[in-house]
Amino acid sequence: MNDILFNIGYAHFLVLAAVLFLIGMLGVLIRRNALIILMSVELMLNAANMTLIAFSRMWGKSEALGAHTFALMVIGVAAAEAAVGLAIVVAVFRGRRNVDVDRLTTLRN
């Protein structure tokens, strides 16, 4: 028992990443608030980043930093995406006074 709790290995990182990814995925699938959906997407991206780093440590040589670079890249893109997404959400909120995705049906059909 102690072994699992205190002897931290790759498995812990991967499980944490999986849990984060699931939370994010459920958020995207279930929540109706566009703001929260955006936040959930961020969560999934970061879970992915975490697996990248974990596998890199597991299989790569210790000085190889490809996965780290890739993770930084993802963080950068995610920031940009968040900026655009939030801008859209704010714009929508200004026009309609709500950001419930179920009710944003103007473009349907």
Binding site: G9, A11, V28, L29, M58, W59, V101, D102, T105
Partner: protein
């Protein structure tokens, strides 16, 4: 003259004979109510008369030349095109006019033309549309019948065979508004199907038998008559088939069952009496003169097959005799004019089959021809009488009097002689002919059959069987003379037994003219088939029919090993010939005399006394037609209906309706509801689909990849290859091998644990079991795989 050069408008001349009536049928049936009655019957009668003229030309000029050149059996063969060619089977649309089919086309077109003309008068009360429909069907029938008789091979004959069956069905049910008439049509059709099925089986059997002989795959096609009668096909017919019996017995009997259906023989005759529901000219043409004789024609056409099996022949002769007797018996108590004639037809067809069954082909065709004349005349005469009766009925209705008879009830007739003199005269001639009175046609043809049966003794028959057939036929002839003259006396003699009969009158000339012509033929037609005599020299035309038909039929029993051919018909001495004739004539006179005594002035008191007293049981049996319909109803129709009902409930209602139709609709609906839930326009729902799909893909991809190892023997070395599946962390897994099977992880040369994914070991050193341990790098869970590599080391 080359037969192939006989063409009209590019089509072989023989094809035109059936084509002309078919064109007429097409015109009258498609134009229908748009043309007047006059146009309709002009077209219909015109094409048949043209076909008749063409037939006469074909027989008189090109066929006569062939006949004179000694090639009457080859005749004229013309092919229109190849119809079916599958594997080793080939059928051509080909026609064949030899001396046998010549007789048939002359009868069909000549009698057919007369009956077309007669119908003009008989059917004039029909509406325009059904008038045209009637003539269309009649033409269609004539065309089909001509295809049947002109066919050069069995498949084409089968087209005609089915065609006439269809027309028979259509015409019996011509007044289909009447439920029972429509039922009679269906009955005829269904009973015929049973026969046709066996006909087909016989055809298949013949094809199977000859497909490997030298006659197969010639230019003519597989089932061409000219091929089938080729001596090279003979061995196939006598080959053992079932229980050592010859193949020709099976094929012959199967084909004969087909003939039983078409020609109304026991046990398939039940449809013919009901077929009298059709218009009377139809009864005359189809159900007396032509179609029902198709079976006889077919047996004669296949004479080469039947002569190869005396078993088949005895079956044909026996069925013929039984039918002749049974039908004659059933005719005694009938009270419907046409029903009597129908049973008479069945009986006469039995005579023809006895002739065919005794190898007396010429007599069969001879009687077929004379019967066509006198029976057509009788039917048309009956039609004329009924027409007159209907006139009487109309007369009574007009004067507001009660109608006290139906048109066909002979118990209500009598005394028609003075109302319809022409009909009476022709009817009398035909009755004399069918009773076998000299010198009318029936005398000679019936006598030929009787004389042929006497003394016939093929190998395999009891030696007395010919005499039994003769005696049976004689009894049948006695019955024929009696019931026909009973009919005659009841209709024409004595006093009228109803008001209707008193007001009957003679039919128009379009109806009496054919009667006169047919009666004339029934008088003289016998003189072409006189018996051969040694003492008296007759002109050759007097027995022209037998020399005319001889090339087309087989005169000998097929005896493959006999030194000399065994001739079927032996020559009787003049004394015997005249003696048999005398007996037959005497029998005819006795029958007529008995009828006169009992019915000469209407039904006598004696009849009543006999019917109520000593003859009550037979009379009832005759009236009930020996209960054939009832027996069939119990043993065939009802069980069949029960089975059909069960199949309907189980197969149709449950399997097809419930499971197949509603079930598939339910499944489609189910998927519809499902996809409606999915396809709701929300991105999130689609995304859920993507997630589920991706999860499925990963799951399935992972399923096939369990940790494992494989091995193979290369140059006395085992090579082991670890296949660490994705489930255990793939390439980074920690491996431990135990190759020698001692239970301890092996080490390599330098003392390190053996952990390479591919390891080798010499053949001799490998253990019985090899174990691979894989430790998952993430969960650190070990997986152990052990395989038995070889048998215990000795």
């Amino acid at each position: 003259m080359d037969p192939q050069s006989l063409k009209i408008l590019g089509l072989p001349m023989l094809a035109w004979v059936p084509l002309l009536p078919l064109i007429g049928a097409f015109l009258t049936l498609t134009l229908g109510r748009r043309i007047s009655k006059r146009t309709a019957h002009t077209i219909a009668c015109g094409v048949v008369l043209l076909a008749c003229a063409l037939s006469i030309y074909l027989v008189a000029v090109p066929l006569w030349k062939q006949f004179k050149a000694g090639a009457g059996g080859v005749g004229i063969e013309q092919t229109v095109y190849t119809w079916i060619e599958v594997g080793s089977f080939k059928a051509q649309l080909a026609f064949r006019l030899d001396t046998l089919s010549a007789v048939m086309i002359l009868i069909v077109t000549f009698v057919g033309a007369l009956i077309h003309i007669y119908s003009v008068g008989y059917m004039h009360k029909e509406s325009d549309a059904s008038y045209a429909r009637y003539f269309g069907y009649l033409n269609l029938f004539t065309g089909s019948m001509l295809i049947l008789v002109l066919a050069a091979n069995l498949p084409v004959m089968f087209i005609g065979w089915e065609g006439v069956g269809l027309c028979s069905f259509l015409l019996i049910g011509f007044w289909y508004e009447n439920e029972s008439y429509a039922y009679a049509g269906r009955k005829a059709f269904i009973v015929n199907r049973i026969g046709d099925f066996c006909f087909l089986l016989g055809m298949f059997l013949l094809f199977w038998a000859v497909k490997d002989t030298s006659i197969a795959n010639t230019a003519r096609g597989s089932l061409d008559f000219a091929n089938l009668r080729d001596p090279a096909a003979g061995p196939a017919y006598v080959a053992g088939f079932w229980g050592g019996e010859r193949l020709s017995a099976a094929a012959g009997i199967l084909l004969f069952i087909g003939a039983c259906g078409k020609s109304a023989q026991l046990p398939l005759f039940v449809w013919l009496p009901d077929a009298m529901a059709g218009p009377t000219p139809v009864s005359a043409l189809i159900h007396a003169a032509t179609m029902v004789t198709a079976g006889v024609y077919m047996v004669c056409r296949m004479s080469f097959l039947y002569t190869a099996s005396t078993t088949a022949m005895i079956v044909v002769a026996t069925i013929g005799l039984l039918t002749a007797l049974a039908a004659a018996f059933m005719a005694f108590a009938q009270t419907d004019l046409k029903k009597v004639l129908a049973y008479s037809t069945v009986s006469q067809l039995g005579f023809m089959f006895v002739a065919a069954g005794t190898g007396n082909w010429v007599a069969a065709i001879f009687h077929l021809g004379t019967h066509a004349f006198f029976k057509a005349c009788l039917f048309l005469g009956a039609g004329s009488v009924m027409h007159g009766m209907e006139h009487g009925m109309e007369h009574l209705r007009e004067h507001g009097k009660e109608v006290d008879a139906t048109s066909g009830d002979i118990t209500k007739m009598g005394g028609m002689a003075k109302h319809m003199p022409i009909t009476r005269a022709t009817f009398m001639i035909s009755c004399l002919a069918i009773a076998g009175i000299f010198p009318f046609a029936g005398f000679f043809s019936k006598d030929e059959i009787l004389a042929g049966a006497w003394g016939v003794n093929p190998p395999g028959w009891p030696f007395w069987y010919g005499e039994v057939l003769w005696a049976g036929l004689l009894l049948g002839a006695l019955g024929t003379a009696f019931y026909m003259w009973r009919l005659y006396f009841l209709v024409f003699s004595g006093k009228e037994r109803s008001e209707v009969a008193k007001h009957a009158h003679e039919s128009p000339v379009s109806m009496t003219m054919p009667l006169v012509v047919l009666a004339f033929c029934a008088t003289i037609a016998g003189f072409i088939g006189l018996p051969h005599l040694t003492g008296i020299k007759l002109p050759s035309i007097m027995h022209g029919l037998s020399s005319w038909l001889a090339p087309s039929v087989t005169p000998n029993w097929y005896m493959p090993n006999a030194a000399e051919p065994m001739v079927i018909a032996g020559h009787a001495s003049d004394g015997l010939t005249f003696g048999l004739m005398g007996v037959a004539l005497l029998i005819g006179v006795v029958g007529i005399g008995a009828a006169y005594v009992l019915y000469g002035h209407g039904p006598s008191k004696t009849v009543e006394r006999l019917v109520e007293g000593p003859l009550a049981k037979p009379y009832e049996a005759s009236k009930a037609k020996l209960w054939f319909d009832e027996i069939y109803d119990v043993i065939i129709v009802r069980p069949f209906k029960v089975v059909a009902r069960g199949l309907f409930e189980v197969v149709d209602r449950f399997i097809i309706d419930t499971v197949a139709v509603n079930g598939s609709a339910f499944i489609v609906g189910l998927f519809g509801r499902l996809s409606r839930w999915v396809q709701n326009g929300q991105v999130q729902r689609y995304l859920a689909g993507v997630v589920v799909g991706a999860a499925l893909v990963f799951f399935i991809a992972d399923c096939g990849r369990k940790p494992d190892f494989t091995y193979k023997l290369v140059n006395n070395e085992y090579e082991f290859r670890a296949e660490a599946g994705a489930g255990v962390g793939g390439a980074n897994a920690k491996l431990r091998w135990d190759l020698d099977g001692n239970g301890i992880d092996d080490i390599d040369a330098s003392g390190n644990p053996l952990d390479a994914p591919v390891v080798k070991i010499r053949e001799g050193e490998v253990g019985t079991y090899v174990t691979l341990k894989i430790e998952d790098p993430i969960t650190r869970k070990p997986v152990t795989i052990t395989k038995r590599i070889r048998e215990e080391v000795q």
